[in-house]
Symmetry: C2
Subunit: 427 residues, 2 copies
């Protein structure tokens, strides 16, 4: 008995029937004796529809008003979920992010949660109600303005509520059965992971696995809240995200751990190469300062050894495709100052990442990975590594083959197809 | 230059183009040097769409959650209007009812405004912003719950804001050019009224004229806020609602005042007759007590003289059709106690009302009205009167003919068609 926090995304709340199914699921958890707090996203595509409306009205809507607009989406879904629950004979109270005490900074569109003061939630729980909270939104500490947490923010809302309420578990309901060793749409024999550590999940999320939002995993790790990723369409156990790769192994964990937790991929990045940069102290720094000033988050960076004859070098980096135009402009503005030769732009790239705590104790993982890619005829463009991850940039058209080859090379393939995608295209 | 409060209803905000047109109108008022505060309804049919969604999820949704749901509608429209204004180079800030300080009682679905504390609005005005406020909604004083004011509540929001801000005028924008002497869909020669007193407007609104919401007129009269009813689709002057029938006449008002301000009609009522009620003290009172307990608002009441032989009487009354089922049940429950014979129900009725301050000083208005109806072959069922109004109940199919006949008899017909209905079916 304790508090269970659940999160349902838009694909689990697509229409009235879906909402009624979610309500039954929530009522079951209450019937089992738990106090239940639920964070909900906006229904189906409603956030996109609101964005379309905004675009029709203004090409560049003010961020404050965009947040005011978008937060209507969760308001609608939370009220409908509360109604559906009451129709089952339970009582429910819905609360906006502001009413639920989700306090954020003032950055409209991608606010960060500063604090959660769940007084009204606690009161409602004490009165026996099921609590439904609008995900993705909060209220700014200084200006009392409505804010949103950015895409996928409802995962973060759920984890933050679980932390503030000292919940036993945070259940993230989605349209797949859990975290898989690869995207089942690319690798049909992908296996569901029963458990994965916070660090591995962070790397998976950062490398393109869409099942959990990166910030929610960071939040859960900081407050040590176990996340149970599972399907709202089935009763199967999903994946438990908890613990650290640095935890002492338990006594009975004598079986061989798998080396690799999963193969992630990402098609959302682009590559920019600055050609012919003078190889002097501070020139590269100037480039990255300018990109930082333009609020561009870089991912992988490679600098070639300079050619002795010319003393010129090339610098390549990857970044979100959505930031590419801004980045190219910031670099063009520097051309006179630095005197590089040219800029190359490539948005036909993809990234494949191998993630697993086991690779720390297993030498030769890189070699096996590269050889698997070579065997599949996949050419490697850039490489970056962390303690528990190896990422490579390849041609976008080579992503599927590369993921499948790596998955097979590290013996991740299941004997039969495990993965079912229940909803539409996911989140 | 002072503060102008404007109100735009759903038919003026049906889609992105309509919202942009409204934004231009608002910007004009700002450009003219006014501080502008705008109350908006939900876009077009969006409130009905939300009600449909609620009905799909639960046949009897909790009122608290229904208010939470419906208030999303104005949140969407106010944010879009603010965006459209900012696109014109002005700055706008949107506020929910709660943020705007619209404090109500706790009756979900038809809350009454208790107070308006427009601190945030005043701050935004002082910073030079145009202020957009979500109509129809507020926050309850005791429980801090989100409430709605009921259908047409945005008119009341606008007037309440105008009163709290000591605005010069409250402009109610709609899809007709003002208040007409009759519904132009029935009487094409209806004339637009340049002015009408609060009392006459109250009677018109109570008798079925839909152009202004009854409660907003009551509010405006109490705080003496002039209302300018005009079209959002044209630049014409509309109708000014202000002043009292008891005001001393101004010196230059020597011309003959028209006797009748307008002919209103209403098809939303039903008639119930309780047949064979024992004519004893307290029996009728018991009937009306039971109806009051069931929260039924009665309109007209007629009790026949009892037949001497039986000492039984019949009691007829009209009430909103939407309350008819509840009322019939409440009466059936009384049958044993009171011992009446039977209940008759008729929902094929209509009401025609003649309204005008001038009828106080003109005898014979009733006779002329009844004779006009007789001339059009319209049979009168029930009659009720006030100082400035005569209402009759007729067969629903006779409403159009009766309205037209009365309109002509009192010389209200214009020489040419004045009325244009710009939008769809109105509010």
């Amino acid at each position: 008995m304790g508090i269970v926090v659940q999160k349902y995304g838009g694909s689990s709340l697509a229409d009235a029937d879906a909402i009624k199914r979610v309500a039954r699921r929530i009522a079951e958890a209450k019937k089992d004796g738990n106090d239940v707090v639920v964070a909900v996203s906006a229904m189906g595509d409603s956030t996109d529809n609101l964005l379309d409306l905004a675009a029709e009205v203004s090409p560049l809507p003010p961020a404050r008003e965009l947040d005011m607009l978008l937060t209507a989406g969760e308001r609608i879904s939370m009220a409908l979920v509360a109604m559906a629950i009451s129709d089952l004979g339970y009582t429910a109270r819905s609360f906006t992010g502001s009413q639920a005490g989700v306090i954020t900074d003032s950055v409209h569109g991608k606010a960060k949660i500063i604090d959660v003061t769940p007084g009204r939630i606690r009161d409602a729980i004490a009165e026996g109600h099921i609590v439904i909270v609008a995900g993705f939104q909060g209220v700014s500490q200084d200006t009392k303005e409505i804010t949103t947490l950015g895409r996928g923010g409802t995962d973060t809302t759920a984890v933050a509520l679980a932390a503030a309420l000292h919940a036993d578990v945070c259940e993230i309901y989605t349209d797949v059965d859990g975290v898989f060793t690869a995207d089942p749409r690319i690798v049909p024999t992908a296996r569901k992971l029963d458990t994965v550590t916070f660090e591995e999940m962070l790397e998976l999320a950062a490398c393109g696995a869409k099942v959990l939002h990166l910030r929610s995993v960071e939040y859960a790790r900081r407050y040590d809240i176990p996340i149970h990723v599972r399907s709202s369409f089935s009763q199967l156990m999903g994946t438990i995200v908890s613990g650290s790769i640095n935890d002492p192994r338990s006594e009975d964990s004598t079986v061989e751990e798998p080396i690799i937790a999963g193969v992630a991929h990402d098609r959302s990045e682009a590559k920019i190469t600055v050609v012919g940069v003078p190889d002097k102290v501070g020139e590269a720094a100037r480039i990255f300062e300018a990109l930082a000033e333009a609020q561009i988050n870089l991912d992988m960076i490679v600098q070639n050894v300079s050619a002795a004859a010319t003393n010129l070098t090339d610098i390549s980096f990857t970044l979100p495709r959505t930031d590419a135009t801004t980045a190219m402009k910031a670099l063009e503005d520097l051309r006179g100052e630095i005197g590089f030769d040219s800029l190359l732009f490539d948005d036909k790239i993809g990234k494949i990442s191998l993630i697993g705590a086991g690779m720390r104790s297993h030498p030769g993982v890189s070699a096996k990975f590269f050889s698997a890619l070579a065997g599949a005829g996949v050419n490697i463009g850039m490489i970056s590594t962390s303690e528990i991850r190896i990422s490579v940039v390849v041609a976008e058209t080579d992503v599927d083959a590369g993921v499948a080859a790596a998955h097979t090379a590290f013996a991740l393939d299941a004997d039969e197809v495990e993965a079912v995608v229940y909803g539409g295209t996911g989140r």
